[in-house]
Symmetry: none
Subunit: 210 residues, 4 copies
């Protein structure tokens, strides 16, 4: 019977993190009460505050951890020294595919990052935004390098281009994953692969060059 009681510290924190994330994702940060989280986790209110200094800190922790994982995935891409546009397209395709796949496998995190955390308090939505700023920065670096390698036209404005492409991908993830009503229970009707390819193609050749 005592074995049921004792839980490793790290497990308990993870458990609370998981429950909190799923509730934030389902109902939003503000509508999720700490009392809801602990009720679902089956612990007392005080326990939550043993692991997190505040509700806000728990959200920041979730976002920070998620950001790390997401960036780890994305940093695998664009590593090679491409020599042709086709190679670059292939790399981009892989990067986008990894992104869409990660999003698909981390629905709760993504909806918090993309949507539900956005209406939260400033520190939280700032943390969430930073994730995508990092992505945009990376995208921009890649474009600059590609232009230096003469893989892209010299007259393009890479800053705007990377903004456009990043927002295209991120926004599309939202509507692909959560549907028109941004519903956590929505089921995508297109595969991650198809989405990634379409996004890469559009980014490279536009609607006219399909």
């Amino acid at each position: 019977m005592s074995s049921q009681r004792k839980i490793e510290t790290v497990e308990r924190k993870q458990q609370l993190t998981d429950v909190a994330l799923s509730q934030f994702a389902l109902n939003g940060y503000h509508k999720t009460a700490v009392s809801d989280v602990v009720k679902e986790a089956g612990v007392s209110q005080g326990t939550f505050y043993w692991y997190f200094r505040s509700k806000e800190e728990s959200a920041l922790y979730i976002i920070e951890e998620g950001k790390k994982e997401l960036l780890k995935v994305l940093e695998q891409g664009y590593r090679n020294e491409e020599a042709t546009v086709e190679e670059m397209l292939l790399e981009t395709n892989r990067l986008f595919y990894d992104f869409f796949t990660f999003a698909e496998e981390n629905r709760n995190l993504m909806i918090l990052l993309l949507i539900k955390g956005v209406g939260a308090d400033t520190p939280i939505h700032k943390a969430a935004s930073e994730t995508f700023t990092a992505i945009e920065k990376a995208s921009q670096r890649n474009l600059v390098r590609a232009r230096e390698l003469n893989l892209l036209p010299q007259n393009m404005d890479v800053s705007i281009q990377s903004t456009l492409i990043t927002n295209m991908v991120i926004g599309t993830i939202s509507s692909w994953l959560f549907g028109p009503n941004l519903d956590i229970n929505y089921k995508p009707d297109v595969s991650a692969e198809k989405m990634a390819t379409s996004a890469a193609m559009l980014g490279f050749y536009g609607i006219t060059g399909y």
Copy 2:
């Protein structure tokens, strides 16, 4: 003399709407209390409830009105029967320009629609999403028609394309207008015209075809 002081019903509702919108935009829906709104408007708590059944209803009203205006602006675009890709690009350019300009002139509305209302309760962010669903639908109609006119490749998936392009534009409006931290006081450093042209170009020809 009282006629000078008398505020018409319609004016009072508009006043409350304006104040509420600016506060929602500044602090978010949840962090804005009805008491804050009426304090700034200089009326009593009860007055708010004379004009709106609830706080939620006031937000829905704001979004509904804003949606109407935005769609009115966007429906001006894509009206002509284009015959060439160049004409179509020009039209798209104008449409995007109208969109970016409207956004620039209605910052409060846009941040509510794009960001601050998103963390709000389900009915509200549903209403906000619908605005962009409408835009995406329109975009899709145009792509279909263009394909029928043989202005675009036949093998493209218009549904995905319109999703990608719409999200590109909408997401870009967010970061262009409110910066990386989604701050209502951020000042865009690129003109609406430049943004619109870049977006249209990218959408038509991709990064390779600049």
Copy 3:
């Protein structure tokens, strides 16, 4: 029946003030919960916050109002231009008598000022202390004037003297009014008059000169 409901704003605030004071006096500031106060007052929790910004503000309000009343009473004393030590003693006697009487008639206030508010948060016990600082200042002014009129020895240190006398009176009020255990329900066994006379005599002539 509606007449039972409607209460003038000023009355309600006074009612809450009275209830809060009596509970602070009985149980101390920290041990008194806002919920206790409103329960006794028969109003809802929210009503308390309609009249006071916070629990602390309510205590400060009580102390501030009490301070005003106390100082009003004390400022009646020492007004005349005494010419002899005997007249000065008479005046002091009257002043002390007013002080002891006021204390007797405002037990709740006095225990808050003297004792129960002292363990409260800094702003509150600061406000309470200020009351007695004001009294000590006044006492010192009187001693200075008396010395100038040659009613008192020239070599005395008025600052220390006024500290000693003020503390004698204030401390004595505590133990006289609330007994050795500082109990709000304690009944003094000596009259205010007798206490005042004794204090004045001791202050003027010491234990040897009785």
Copy 4:
């Protein structure tokens, strides 16, 4: 080697007592959490409860120990059989001096006894009060004896006199040691000796007989 690290039970209890006293003195009994004390002491929450049954018990222990030490110091005074008023004054002077000096050397204890413990729960401030009741009792005994020895007028009310004098000294210690705002960091600007002499003189001869 472990004997160098081992902390004796008695030491650990003393350490906790010291830390608790300094925190009670600094922040007050109610605002000091057990978690604060153990944090500063570098032990776990549970350890506190190994040495004390409760937080309240720890405060009572501190007060009880302090009371013992204080009374030990004060019981040195008034020991001789004085024959004249001058000798009695000298003894009183020494007693007061010992009191003021003890207070100066035990600031934390005194502020707890005099001020910060007063706002605490009834048992605690009862314990603190008892200290001063003991002092008053002793003072009264001395006055009675002095009157029996014909050193003082026969018509005086020794009960009231001892109350007045005791409160004078105790109250004065507060304001001398902690200033008008009862601040633990206040620095007295008059020596203990000067204060003691002034108090003794005032008690014996009053303001007129300086």
